[in-house]
Symmetry: C2
Subunit: 363 residues, 2 copies
């Protein structure tokens, strides 16, 4: 009898013990706030990067990857001391070289006296597509501005942000100006930052105040003509091409001219910056990879010089001067930088990119 009463009492208490106490929270659709990092409307899903129905002739892998929310962030402000999130992802395959937080989780930054400061992450539920997580709590009273970075390597199908029921949450304008579109490989995409806000375009955006748009395509930044054609329609103040690691040397030779000339023709006067990626870390041990990296680099530089010789204007080349460091510790797997490698890469590339942009009055 006593046990029965205890059981009933426990059942009554359970809802109070379960976090979060939903009755004290209210949720808003993130899509009703400001989405940062977009380069075009995407009617099928606001969290896609490219309208993959419209550009249906792009390769299948490319279209799939453009549905991932890499580089997107939600800008809002609230006076809630607690911020939580509920979100769903498609559940793409688990990646060995990414944390679940970076792959399909969330990364919250708050604007502080020190600038943008990470204040909490959304850890996804392992093996599930529905996730719920408290991002930050016990904040100082007052209104704060936030940027919530979305998953790097999954498609996000819904996102709600929860705040205390008595608090106010509203859209905040994008904190970033101009549009600097970067097209490229998995390194650009964010492999292998430990969380989304540490992907290098996100870091450069917070550092500079410029809107660096992430068109990274893990393993598939191969400069196909259909992708070049899609870029015709993107309004940007500058284009950065960081795609060298993905195409074969022969593909670099075949495709660079069309990619650069297509952008040049459709966006006259806008700088196009080609970024070399010289030696993958595993090229220091794997002799075949070493050879491949050299051939890719030679093909890339050759194409750049050909374009210059032909008089294509406003194109620039940034050489890779051991961008992720010389101690061999800047990569997780011989291919992708870790946060240490990305930190070094940003220190090397950002000033060079900014110097070029400055010449065009982009400041």
């Amino acid at each position: 009898m006593k046990r029965g009463i205890l059981f009933i009492a426990l059942c009554c208490l359970m809802p109070l013990l379960v976090w979060p106490a939903n009755k004290n929270l209210k949720y808003v659709e993130a899509s009703s706030l400001t989405l940062v990092g977009k380069a075009m409307p995407t009617p099928a899903n606001v969290y896609h990067r490219v309208d993959v129905e419209k550009y249906s002739d792009m390769p299948k892998h490319v279209k799939n990857l453009f549905t991932y929310s890499a580089g997107l962030a939600v800008s809002f402000k609230t006076n809630s001391p607690t911020v939580v999130a509920r979100w769903t992802t498609e559940g793409k395959r688990v990646m060995g070289n990414m944390t679940p937080i970076a792959q399909r989780g969330l990364d919250l930054y708050m604007y502080s006296d020190d600038g943008w400061m990470p204040v909490g992450v959304g850890t996804p539920t392992a093996g599930k597509t529905e996730h719920e997580c408290c991002l930050v709590k016990n904040l100082k009273s007052g209104e704060h501005r936030f940027l919530l970075y979305l998953p790097l390597f999954d498609e996000i199908t819904s996102l709600e942000i929860g705040v205390d029921s008595a608090a106010v949450i509203t859209a905040e304008p994008s904190p970033f100006r101009h549009t600097i579109l970067i097209y490229g490989s998995s390194i650009l995409h964010g492999a292998s930052a430990s969380r989304a806000g540490l992907a290098y375009p996100a870091r450069m955006a917070r550092n500079t105040g410029f809107n660096f748009v992430n068109f990274g395509l893990s393993g598939s930044g191969k400069m196909e003509p259909a992708v070049a054609n899609m870029l015709k329609d993107v309004r940007a103040d500058a284009f950065v091409l960081d795609c060298m690691p993905n195409p074969l040397p022969e593909e670099i030779t075949e495709r660079t001219q069309y990619l650069v000339k297509t952008i040049r023709e459709h966006h006259p006067g806008v700088p196009i910056i080609l970024v070399e990626t010289f030696m993958r870390e595993d090229g220091y041990s794997d002799q075949q990879m070493h050879e491949r990296c050299i051939r890719q680099s030679e093909a890339f530089i050759e194409q750049y010089e050909l374009l210059k010789k032909e008089g294509v204007k406003d194109i620039y080349l940034i050489r890779d001067n051991h961008a992720i460091g010389t101690d061999h510790e800047g990569s997780i797997d011989g291919t992708h930088p870790n946060d240490l490698g990305f930190d070094r890469l940003v220190r090397q590339y950002q000033p060079q990119i900014m110097k070029i942009l400055k010449r065009y009055g982009i400041r």
Copy 2:
């Protein structure tokens, strides 16, 4: 009919297409090679860190975590151009803030003209406990020395290293001298390095040539008396206590004296270095965490000063001077450093630790 023939032909070809071509490889038990980073024999499983049967009165969580292979590495040499691995893990729960490679994968270093260089990782198979992976291939001919770091956050139950069938693989002595035992929290344990070789004791070992032994216990480095008693039996040239983040302030006050005095009594003349961890990153936004960090630090410093006042000899304190940096980007989740944070932490702690060790002739 044609389809039938095609099917049979494909079935015959399949074994040739499946990697690795096992007939060209031979495997050795890693336990027959040299295991680096051990502080005691562990009869139940050579890849445990502590004999958890012998020290059965330690808390359950502590015993479980000491079965994880954090900090252990296999030392060997081979003239094989390819190195592969087959291994099994217990399959502990997926961690949101770790890459699968760091949690239950492998991390291979090769000795080169530049010193120890990472040359490949073993990516575990998602959702499985049996894993197989090529670690490195196409190496320059000749004999090379290797260190293979084991999973940080799982128990490894078997490990075989595969090389070309015509190659020779033999045990290589540990490349590290002395034993510097570090006891502590998840940060020491390796959360959240991107791969096992980037956990900070592993980095310091390669930097200095000293054998830094990882007794990190994720969330459970709480200085319990039973753990202090286990440390009586560990022969070490120095003890580093980096456990401040885990115990409550009250536990720090209750337990520090017994831990330090037990080590002092059983290892006379050996330096004991207490490491402060001051402010967690989330303490900059979460007011309650801020308060807790201050109280932990006050309790820890108070205990150190009490020990000094009592005349306990050969004890040292390393203060936390923003060890993971001041830009707030050195952590994945507000608690655990990422590779960038660890790089900064090593730069701050290593010279201070080495200076103390030098006084004791440990060089």
